[in-house]
Amino acid sequence: MAKNILEFEKPIIELEKKIEEMRSYDGSLDIKDEVKKLEQKVNQLKMNIYDNLTRWQKVQLARHPERPYTLDYIYNMTTDFIELHGDRQFKDDKAIVAGLAAIDEYKVMIIGQQKGRDTKSNLYRNFGMANPEGYRKALRLMKLAEKFNIPVITMIDTPGAYPGLEAEQRGQAEAIARNLFEMSKLKVPIIVVIIGEGASGGALGIGIGDRILMLQNTWYSVISPESCSSILWRSWEYKEQAAEALKLTAEDLLEQKLIDRIVPEPLGGAHKDPVAMAATLKNVLKEELAQLIKIKPDKLFQNRIDKFGKMGVYVE
């Protein structure tokens, strides 16, 4: 357990432990007062810490090993999930999970990157790094959704597309490019949610949509802070600076007008209360779906061209 605690979480967890201990004593009034004081203190401390997180700390929260992943959201938000496998060409990529599900009255196709919780499951999931067949599986199922007029929800949580030898052989670049191209013109609504890490083309490969949402403590950029540090500073040591320079948090991206909406997380992060997190996200998704299903299919394509067409800053 201890290894899953981030540096800035430590003082909070220590105080919480102390409160737990005091509660376990038989309650004289003195102790109850003391507990109350400590509870106030811990709340104050949390607000202080979480209101003032650096960008790098948010990156760490986005990668928190206890953070809910795509399947957790599927289990907590939907019913009657049927997982669907494979790209029909090569194999089933376990780094991307997908399937049909119901969010109350809405039928949806959910597609998302999936990380593992421990070494074994991370090897199985390839740490959420998809191969080309993962992107092709995603596309096959989006086309399926299109055929039966089912909205698509994608969940992004990846340190990047897998940079492997076979991945290149099977056309990692082509697979991602094809998805950007096809998702642009998909005739059903697409909602994209960044639930953890959104690293570069590997994230964007399932990231074209009508509404782009980010959970509060997530990041989305062209490169990870570590890789950016290694290339621009020629050392892995400048990841904090790189995170600052890249302006990669949900707040940053909203300000840059590259996303539509931030979904608030429970105090301390999504991992502190995955059920509440899922409930919040579910409500947001229902709101968005209600709007999007009213848009005519042909209009969706034009809207996406306009949406992404506006992104960019240049001087003429």
């Binding site: 597309a161 990692q172 670049a173 082509e174 191209f181 013109k185 990669l248 067409g309 960019g312």
Partner: protein, 279 residues
Amino acid sequence: MAWFKRSKQNISPDSVKSDIPDGQWIKCEDCGEIIHIKQMEENLWVCGKCNYHFRIGSLEYINILFDKGSFKELDKKMRSGDPLEFVDTKKYSERIPATIKKSGLYDAVRTGIGKIEGKKIAFGCMDFKFIGGSMGSVVGEKLARAIDKAYQQKIPLVIISQSGGARMMEGAFSLMQMAKTSSRLARLAEAKIPYISILTDPTTGGTTASYAMLGDINIAEPNALIGFAGPRVIKQTIGRDLPKGFQRSEFLEDHGFVDFIVNRKNLREKLLLTINYLS
């Protein structure tokens, strides 16, 4: 998505011309053959002995491809707006003017409309010497507009890629240029207007993972490095050496991702032939 900081092959005819007085010779990067600069120029910057294709810039490609005097450049002076006020070891706001001064280019792509044997073509060509041919807002916007010209005027589109990938200093803005260009290409494709992508050395990262791989026909120059991840990163990931020829044009052709490879001296002719089949 890394762009290449430096390259031992980063010779451009521009820099050769300015650095070496007339009558000088240059050495082939690959076989070591000493070649006269005039001969190189006549041979379109390809080694006559080993067929090594030297990296050239957008101006050279325009000269090679288009009818003399027919090319009209678009959005020539569009330049980066530094949306993140990005600072690494240097300010991006200082890096840009310095690169503009050094390269004589405003950003890493040149776009316009020209004619090949009288046939109008919308065109974009990247320049590696501008921050590693990296794709930021300017590259995305200029290409998007060139795609729109092809769409509005119903003329074929040709893009020559030469890029280390998306530009880090514009963060997520760079990433979204992949979405911007790909969605425009999707509209062009719906209108059944042909798009030919030409991949030259190197084409990697977000550039490959968007417009460079989306041609109706993908053409590569010989032995160009083409891939998503850079070879160094892949080597690190898998922990062993990469096979010879990995991520080179011939490898891509073998695995089904480029339609054909063409020598630079045949590029114009083959391109025109291809376009004529499709339009």
